[in-house]
Amino acid sequence: MWARAVWLALRVPLGRRRGFTCQADSQGSGRITADVIEHLERLALVDFGSREAVVRLEKAVAFADRLHAVDTDGVEPMESVLEDRCLYLRSDNIAEGNCAEELLQNSHRVVEEYFVAPPGNISLPQLGEQLPFPTDSSSHSGKGIPHEHVEEQ
């Protein structure tokens, strides 16, 4: 169950799709290094929790690698099961909005019609500072600001 969830979550970034940035994969030996774990934990905000989980991940990756056995030369990849469908174009009319009250009810904290979030840019502690395994790793509350968002001052 857990392995399948991990496998599904990681199938995309670890796959060898054309044109996508590949994770630093240590596919050669089938081992996944601590660096990769730290990177994944930070990116996807998952918690590997234990050495066992990492081993399961390695097995899952090995399982998925069997896809390479299929010869896909000259075959266009299918990116979407909708590829034959027409992309519907909506006309530029205003049809939604004005439901601030409803939306704000979803938020734990609200200040004058704004959603309240913890401050951005809490950097995660480095791996060296954390206990290796098992770890409580509750430090997922924030991460470094992605570069798009630093214009608001």
Binding site: V12, P13, G19, F20, T21, Q23, H39, L43, A44, L45, E79, S80, L82, E83, D84, R85, C86, L87, Y88, L89, R90, S91, D92, N93, I94, A95, E96, G97, N98, C99, A100, L103, L104, N106, R109, V111, E112, E113, Y114, F115, V116, A117, P118, P119, G120, N121, S123, K143, G144, I145, P146, H147, E148, H149, V150, E151, E152, Q153
Partner: protein, 532 residues
């Protein structure tokens, strides 16, 4: 690649007639940089070199700077890119947010036709190849103002690619030598905007307003063909004019409708490119130029003193006039791009491939859009040169200053004076007064009619040109008098009556016999200032 190999930057420290140095204030005294820029008050006309930090060191290795720009322009549309909520600048927080924008489960994106048309139009205006098939991708990162945790963009197959943008910069010491350049456009893509976050450091919280989340953006990615702040400013100004002429974006930097990020690196010509830094938080064209020039100089200084450049993101501090590193030094982000599973590929057609019998609302014909393209700024400028015999650099200034072209055309309509005369008055005197007092054309106390009347008086030789300048100054005071009134009140008319003139001359000569003798003996070349 295409970086000119010069003393680190542009030939000469001149600003492009693109009108930097006060030309782009959208609101006078707005929050764009709180401390008044000293150069703004100095010059009457916006032709002053701003980056005095550049010191050309003799005998040093030559440096070449490489600047690449990423420009985000908010599409001018009624509703957002993938949802039907309204696009509006100032509105109560979170009032323009649909369930999709808030990323509630079960919602799906539905593409806005207007945004696609805007993208195609912009692509055509920028000489791009329009991809008949483009697709959408997800770019993942976590931030509070991105509710879904990803942004829908077009990374792999954008809607337009491989275009170019022509612009002009001033070269040489002599004012008015325009050089035409081109910057290549890598691609144009459609993407979603994120919400706005207001940082409340005092209470350690961030307030999120999603009104802007989901608004359609056009990202224009330029190749790193630029080499200094001046060129970058000229490019952005030209792009602004084009977008405004097309109507695809209002491109107002102060309101955040146009955002520019610059990637800057330096290297010695012939050697591989250096490490680049990214500079953000640039909300006016003037600051863009300053920031780029500062960063180039900083990198050169750093490298020349043996330091290293970090691949980081920096922010421009307008008060200090320098770039500062941003708090986060994470290094390269990994966005885990993946195809957007909820959107099939976007297919565009032209007149030859248009399928028959399809709902016209559901297809976009590139040729149809091409036929609807309005007049681009470069064409307008060319026409001004042809029609009125203006110099190219004059037409550049006329277009670059907001509202100036309309003012000029209104004056032309109402006056019999020659267009070149009108241009000279508008570009020198009128614009000079505006710059001196930091006003926009719309704030001018002198109306086109008033100036037209003044120019008529001048043309009829009812007044001299020095008197005309005097009258203009009076008009500028805005006391409601017309030029004719001022002239008659202050008796500034030129004497027309030959008899009266002769009388005056004789009287003058009688009063000053010595001067008459001197002139009589000296003949030609007598100085005019000997006459009272």
């Amino acid at each position: 690649m295409a970086a000119p190999m010069l003393r680190w930057g542009c030939p000469g420290t001149r600003w492009a007639l693109a009108g930097i140095g006060g030309g782009f204030r959208h609101r006078r005294g707005a929050s764009i940089g709180s401390t008044p820029n000293p150069t703004r008050e100095q010059s009457t006309v916006a032709q002053k070199p701003l980056h005095t930090a550049q010191k050309l060191r003799k005998g040093e290795h030559k440096w070449a700077a490489v600047v690449g720009l990423e420009i985000h322009a908010q599409i001018s549309s009624n509703s957002k890119l993938f949802s039907g909520s309204q696009v509006c600048f100032a509105a109560p927080p979170n009032s323009l947010v649909s369930f999709f924008d808030a990323s509630l489960p079960g919602t799906l994106p539905v593409l806005n036709r207007r945004c696609v048309e805007a993208a195609v139009m912009t692509g055509l205006a920028l000489n791009c190849h329009i991809n008949k098939k483009s697709s959408f991708d997800r770019k993942h990162y976590f931030y509070a103002d991105l509710p879904a945790g990803y942004q829908i963009t077009q990374q792999r197959l954008p809607i337009a690619a491989n275009g170019s943008l022509a612009y002009s910069v001033c070269v040489g010491k002599k004012r008015g030598q325009l050089v035409s350049k081109r910057v290549r456009i890598k691609q144009i893509q459609l993407e979603q905007d994120s919400g706005k976050s207001l940082h409340d450091d005092l209470r350690a919280q961030t307030l999120i307003d999603l009104n802007r989340a989901g608004v359609g953006l056009l990202e224009v990615v330029l190749e790193p063909d630029l080499s200094c702040g001046e060129e970058a400013a000229a490019v952005v100004r030209e792009l602004q004019l084009i977008l405004q002429a097309l109507g695809t974006s209002q491109a107002n930097m102060a309101e955040g409708q146009l955002r520019v990020d610059a990637n800057i690196s330096v290297h010695h010509p012939g050697e591989p490119l250096g490490i680049r830094t990214e500079v953000k938080n640039l909300n006016s064209i003037r600051f863009l130029a300053k920031a780029i020039d500062y960063e180039i100089q900083r990198q050169i200084n750093e490298l020349e003193t043996g330091g290293k450049i970090l691949n980081e993101t920096r922010s421009f501090d307008s008060k200090l006039g320098c770039t500062v590193p941003m708090r986060d030094k994470e290094g390269k982000q990994d966005y885990r791009f993946m195809p957007e599973p909820n959107l099939p590929p976007l297919v565009l057609y032209d007149s030859t491939t248009l399928p028959a019998g399809v709902d016209s609302q559901q297809v976009i014909n590139i040729d149809q859009i091409r036929d609807m393209l309005p007049e681009l700024p470069s064409v307008t400028r060319e026409q001004l040169v042809q029609q009125y015999g203006l110099l190219p650099e004059h037409s550049v200034t006329l277009l670059n200053e907001v509202g100036l072209l309309e003012f000029f055309q209104n004056v032309i309509k109402e006056t019999r004076a020659e267009p070149k005369k009108v241009a000279s008055w508008v570009l020198n005197t009128f614009l000079g007064y505006l710059k001196q007092q930091n006003l926009t054309v719309s704030e001018s106390p002198v109306t086109p009619s008033a100036l037209a009347e003044l120019l008529d008086l001048l043309e009829r030789k009812a007044i001299s040109s020095s008197v005309a300048k005097q009258v203009f100054q009076e008009l500028w005071r805005g006391q409601g008098k017309t030029a004719a009134q001022i002239v008659s009140e202050q008796k500034l008319e030129l004497l027309q009556d030959p008899a009266a003139l002769e009388q005056l001359c004789l009287a003058t000569m009688e009063e000053h016999p010595q001067v008459v003798t001197v002139v009589g003996e000296g003949g030609r070349g007598s100085r005019p200032d000997t006459f009272p």
